[in-house]
Subunit: 205 residues, 2 copies
């Protein structure tokens, strides 16, 4: 699915829009249609909640932790977004032309900045790297508060999926040496976490 | 205790420093000396963890939620700090001279800005208010993810204490009409939460 096709296709199938911070609409993937129930669910968090409620065999929201996990997501994503321009720059490099153009122009509007000025090598790129490193230093502090490999100690949750999703994103869009840099931070903790979450979720390539 | 006396007094009693984000030392209150064990504990989060471990009758960290709650604190405080200059301005107004001067000059260094420019009425003050309102809109989204008056639904936790502590701070330092404005947001949710936490913790004035 190319980026400019998401909104029209979502409208066509009757899927709900997601919300920007300013409450305006944005059509996002993933979207889930459940053939067993007919449900059509937009937004990763809401999809995960839907799956937990509908198929409770292996829950990812331990009892009454939905608010906590939503806050973890806020805290984590807001830190990662401090390097968003750099990540968009790398994302554009691996997309097909139509998506690349859509991604670059919508983000130019978002940042009110020309694409060429997104993350030039030098002090701005350095600042993006510093933001990413700080984000993982903070995230490590959270993980260090409990024993066990997951954020909730021995209990796997959607919070670990959220943390791993950005790592998955970086591994996909960054240059190899850039991903290796992140993967090596904190004695390889983030490379391991991504592998653990992929294994726990049976992610197939 | 006046602000400039905290560091020398903490050193005198052998209390540990806390850490700034850049890993430099800062002496902070509260500090706890437990006469039953001789323990001397710095930092609110660590004090709460210590009390939970030592006196487990009424825990505020439900099993394995320490990492979650630490992340909630990051997410919440980082948003509130976007209005920090305004809050320092109001704090200085109610302090005795020695603390007021210490508070203003240390924060001038922190922001690299003259105290008189901290939160002048007009666009900058408006921006601080907008940041506070956005912080509580986000916090409401977290609370809305579970049923019950606490962030963990029916279970009271240190996360609710963290949220309430800033409300307590605002009620103490802001002008009456300013506090009333916050207390009225989201149908009075924050006034109620502060009252509920004070009641749950048996806060006495």
């Amino acid at each position: 699915m190319e980026l400019p096709d998401i909104a029209p296709r979502m409208k066509e199938i009757g899927a709900k829009a997601n919300k920007h911070d300013d409450d305006s609409d944005i059509y996002t993937l993933p979207v889930l249609r459940d053939p067993n129930t007919g449900a059509l669910v937009t937004d990763s968090f809401d999809i995960a909640v839907y799956l937990d409620n509908t198929y409770p065999e292996k829950p990812v929201f331990p009892k009454d932790t939905n608010g906590f996990i939503c806050a973890v997501e806020s805290a984590y994503i807001n830190q990662i977004l401090l390097a968003y321009e750099f990540l968009v720059l790398r994302g554009v490099e691996i997309m097909r032309d139509r998506s690349a153009e859509f991604y670059a122009t919508t983000r130019e509007k978002y940042f009110n900045k020309k694409f060429a000025e997104f993350s030039p090598e030098g002090p701005e790129r350095d600042q993006h790297w510093a933001a990413l490193e700080k984000a993982y230093t903070t995230t490590k502090m959270w993980y260090d508060k409990t024993d066990g490999k997951w954020l909730m100690g021995g209990t796997f949750s959607y919070a670990d999926i959220v943390i791993a999703c950005c790592l998955f994103w970086f591994k996909r869009v960054l240059h190899d040496d850039e991903w290796e840099k992140i993967a090596a931070w904190h004695d390889g903790q983030w490379r391991r976490l991504l592998a653990d979450v992929e294994s726990e979720c049976k992610v197939l390539y």
